[in-house]
């Protein structure tokens, strides 16, 4: 077993016209790890998955899947991986079962094993009542379940999930997250998950790379990323520019290294200070604040502090 299932070195993609979608990524994913690429639309996540699944040619750098170079050993790299694409990628005029069988044959799964595996996955993913219907008649959530089942038939060593819950309604999304958590428990598969949903990354991933404009700006376990912001943050809306209020806090002795301001919203991690100290300092500086709340920090705060953008606003 290859311990480094995904190795990415200096990976870049520049599209015709000069758009730099990915600007030098470096990361590694260990066997069995669930690794998240977290960032808004346009951050370069799908392009990265495209390069790793050999459906997009890198402009520079290299990547290996289970030890196979995606450029020079593309077929071998594809043989050990499967992809659930962001958009629906099924043959709509074929039944769900025919879509599953097609994958099994192309990944050289023996016929008897394929039948057993399909039965097992149809059962596990609740596709029993659907699998013999045309895939074109499936709802978004049903189609996504079919695509996940299809990707697992060949027992891939690496599974790429590109925004697997995008476009699904909240109930289906939560069901799918439960299902992915279950898959994680049952399958010996390394997973690379891209998402712009924070709770997905927090819930499913061992480590998360925050990607912003084609570059990784942070890479840690979700808890470690959150730990930088302490156990609680104070969020308040101030009159005028929040960056001025932040500077005023600093001038009045409040530690502001990890505080960040976006528009009129100021977020202050309460690591080395208290909410009372912050409010007192604002009062002394003559800054009026409203909509004051304290809460646990989220990965959105991490992203916001690192990039100055909100994930959901950018998404």
């Amino acid at each position: 077993m290859h311990d480094r299932m995904v190795e990415v070195n200096g990976l870049r993609k520049t599209y015709p016209g000069g758009v730099e979608a990915v600007r030098g990524l470096d990361f590694e994913i260990a066997a069995g790890e669930v690794f998240g690429l977290l960032g808004p639309n346009g951050a370069g996540k799908t392009t990265t998955v495209g390069m790793l699944s050999t459906t997009i040619a890198p402009s520079a750098g290299s990547a290996r899947i289970a030890g196979f170079d995606v450029a020079r050993q593309a077929i071998e790299a594809r043989s050990v991986s499967s992809v659930v694409f962001q958009n629906a990628v099924v043959d709509r005029n074929l039944s769900g079962r025919a879509n599953l069988m097609l994958h099994a044959r192309l990944w050289a799964v023996a016929p008897r094993e394929a039948s057993t595996r399909i039965a097992e996955l149809v059962d596990a993913l609740g596709l029993g009542a659907l699998v013999d219907r045309n895939a074109g008649s499936y709802s978004g959530g049903e189609r996504r379940r079919l695509e996940i089942a299809r990707a697992l038939i060949s027992r891939p060593r690496v599974l790429f999930l590109d925004e697997p819950t995008v476009g699904l309604d909240p109930r289906i999304r939560h069901e799918l997250l439960d299902l992915l958590a279950d898959v994680r428990g049952r399958e010996e598969t390394t997973i690379l998950l891209t998402t712009h949903y924070l709770e997905e990354a927090q819930r499913l991933c061992d480590r998360v790379a925050i990607i912003h404009r084609g570059q990784i700006v942070a890479l840690e376990a979700p808890d470690t990323l959150l730990a930088d912001l302490g156990r609680e943050v104070l969020e308040l809306r101030v009159g005028g520019e929040a960056s001025l209020a932040r500077a005023a806090l600093g001038a009045h002795g409040v530690p502001i290294e990890t505080a960040f301001a976006v528009g009129s919203t100021l977020t202050v991690p309460l690591q080395d200070t208290s909410a009372g100290d912050v409010m007192a300092a604002l009062d002394q500086a003559g800054v009026t604040a409203s909509a004051i709340s304290s809460r646990r920090p989220t990965l959105d705060d991490v992203y916001l502090r690192l990039t100055g953008d909100r994930l959901d606003a950018a998404a």
Binding site: D3, R4, T55, E76, V89, L106, L219
Partner: protein, 290 residues
């Protein structure tokens, strides 16, 4: 913007030689891809019927009418049968161009990306489609000739003639499917692809001696026709079934040995077929992977 040093987990260790997953044999992969295309084609009957309709009307209604109106070719060749064979020059391009449309549909709505992520060479995706396009074109040609024969067309079919006919039809179909696949890879929208059908599938039909011998055209056009693979393919098909003296082949090559002329024309069609297949594979592979 702050950055974080990227440190992999400490338990990562450099492995020895990697082991690949299972990779299907070429035969199995091609059979699977062709089976998929055949299944999808069988669910769209219009792809089978529509290309056949126009050529069928031409062969069954226009051919005997033209023979009666013009008095025929005034040679050993039956003009209605001459046109019946010429109609294949419309049928095969229409059939293959319609088949190429499915490549665009695959890209827009189907499972093309899934196929691109499969552990098979990308050329197989083109070859799997080609196999089904050839089968469909063959079926349509057989239907056309059978109905023409029922109408009263007289074809002289010998073993060697059948071999020439199959070789010419097969290679011409490979060539024209290569054109279709290349076009489908280069064109982004179905509308643009459909707009190209007259130029690709219908225009050559009028210049390649489908309805009349190329010698009946002005000399300049007749010279252009000699460079078109359809002209060679039709001359071979007629040599096989309706023109054992090889009148059409003589009009192209002007040689005394008709067998040599037939081999030369077959070589021309084969070169076009091989070239367009290679080009279509290359264009597909490059355009499918961004």
């Amino acid at each position: 913007m702050s950055t974080t040093t990227l440190t992999p987990p400490a338990d990562l260790a450099r492995p020895s030689a990697p082991s690949a997953g299972r990779i299907p044999s070429a035969a199995r992969a091609l059979a699977t891809l062709a089976g998929r295309r055949a299944a999808l084609t069988s669910r769209t009957p219009r792809q089978i019927a529509v290309p056949l309709l126009g050529p069928l009307l031409l062969a069954l209604i226009a051919a005997p009418a033209l023979k009666q109106a013009t008095g025929g070719l005034r040679s050993h060749i039956d003009y209605a049968a001459f046109i019946d064979i010429g109609t294949i020059g419309l049928l095969v391009p229409l059939s293959c161009i319609f088949a190429g449309l499915s490549v665009i549909i695959d890209r827009e709505q189907g499972a093309q990306r899934e196929l691109l992520s499969a552990p098979v060479p990308r050329a197989y995706l083109v070859l799997g489609n080609l196999a089904v396009a050839l089968g469909l074109a063959a079926l349509q040609v057989v239907v056309l000739l059978a109905l023409a024969a029922l109408r009263g067309a007289h074809f002289t079919i010998t073993a060697s003639g059948l071999a020439w006919f199959v070789a010419a039809t097969l290679l011409f179909s490979v060539f024209i499917y290569g054109v279709a696949e290349t076009l489908a890879s280069r064109v982004h929208k179905q509308e643009d692809y459909i707009a190209a059908i007259p130029a690709v599938a219908i225009l050559p039909f009028f210049f390649a001696g489908a309805l009349f011998p190329i010698g009946a055209m002005p000399a300049a056009l007749a010279t252009i026709a000699k460079f078109m693979p359809l002209t060679h393919a039709l001359a071979l098909m007629r040599y096989a079934f309706v023109d054992p003296r090889g009148t059409g082949l003589h009009a192209i090559w002007g040689m005394s040995n008709v067998t040599v002329e037939a081999w030369l024309s077959l070589a021309v069609v084969a070169v076009f077929a091989l070239a367009l297949t290679a080009i279509s594979v290359r264009v597909f592979s490059r355009s499918a992977v961004g």
